[in-house]
């Protein structure tokens, strides 16, 4: 049977100016509709990241604890009853699965804040660049 291959790639770059004291959570998604009548294989799923957060108070300190954005891919059936998740990095094909009409590639990373109820906040400098991709086959 013929196999159709799809690529889903998402690049997200964020830059926060000096006055900011709150960097919200990063949550970006790219999605693609699939043929639920065909078997789906996730052939590859990966991401990489550059950048981070700096705390600027009386001194300057790097403020981060993860080297990579959390990346997953969800397969969603046409009625959205239940998702099947795959987590990056993976360079081996998944088992073939039928009945999924949507693939959602998602990158996530926690936010940070220095604001605390009425107190003067310290500044954060943030710059993050995340690239993720998934290769999906349908047969």
């Amino acid at each position: 049977m013929a196999t159709t291959s799809f690529m889903i790639q998402l690049f997200s770059e964020q830059y926060f100016a000096g006055a900011v004291s709150d960097v919200p959570e990063l949550e970006d998604e790219a999605f693609l509709f699939l043929d639920p009548g065909k078997a789906t294989v996730i052939r590859e799923l990966a991401s990489e990241e550059e950048g981070g957060l700096l705390f600027v108070g009386s001194g300057i300190a790097p403020l981060w604890w993860s080297s990579e954005a959390f990346t997953d891919l969800r397969l969603v059936p046409p009625r959205g009853e239940h998702y099947t998740y795959f987590y990056a990095p993976s360079f081996n094909p998944s088992p073939p699965m039928k009945g999924f009409g949507l693939a959602i590639l998602r990158v996530r990373e926690a936010g940070a804040t220095t604001s605390q109820g009425g107190q003067p906040a310290n500044a954060l400098r943030a710059y993050r660049r995340v690239g993720a991709h998934a290769y999906v086959d349908q047969t």
């Binding site: 799809f6 998402l10 690049f11 693609l32 959205g80």
Partner: protein, 139 residues
């Protein structure tokens, strides 16, 4: 099938939706026309690919939370459709500018910044400043 957030606790968040592949840059500007957040998304894949990003309606700064205006700064693929909160990006920006009451000076500054970034093909050209805010001069 839905890709909407699972909870309704996101009234403080606005959603950017992208239909089709391509690169786009958008920013969040305060009432003075200063860019507090600049974000670039690049989506690659088949024509049917879509993407979603979420950003705050108010940005927390050292001097408190400030309302912001989302502005589509650059779009590499003119076929790509971009919406803010389900509305055409330009229309949503106009509405938000009216809500916040941006001055002509602020609009001029926004235009200046967007022209600068657009001239670089949407690349915000990040330089992370690690110095503290300069002290105010005493008179």
């Amino acid at each position: 099938m839905s890709t909407k957030p699972d909870t309704a606790a996101d009234a403080a968040i606005f959603e950017v939706r992208v239909h089709g592949p391509g690169a786009l840059t958008f920013g969040l500007f305060d009432a003075k026309g200063k860019a507090l957040v600049v974000k670039r998304l690049i989506v690659s894949g088949p024509e049917g690919i879509e993407a979603r990003s979420r950003l705050p309606r108010r940005v927390q700064t050292q001097s408190g939370a400030v309302p912001v205006v989302p502005v589509l700064i650059h779009r590499a693929n003119s076929e790509q459709r971009v919406t803010f909160e389900g509305k055409d990006a330009a229309k949503a920006t106009d509405e938000r500018c009216r809500d916040i009451g941006l001055s002509k000076v602020a609009l001029g500054k926004i235009r200046e910044t967007t022209n600068l970034i657009a001239a670089r093909g949407g690349d915000p050209g990040v330089l992370v400043a690690v110095s503290r805010e300069p002290p105010t001069k005493k008179r």
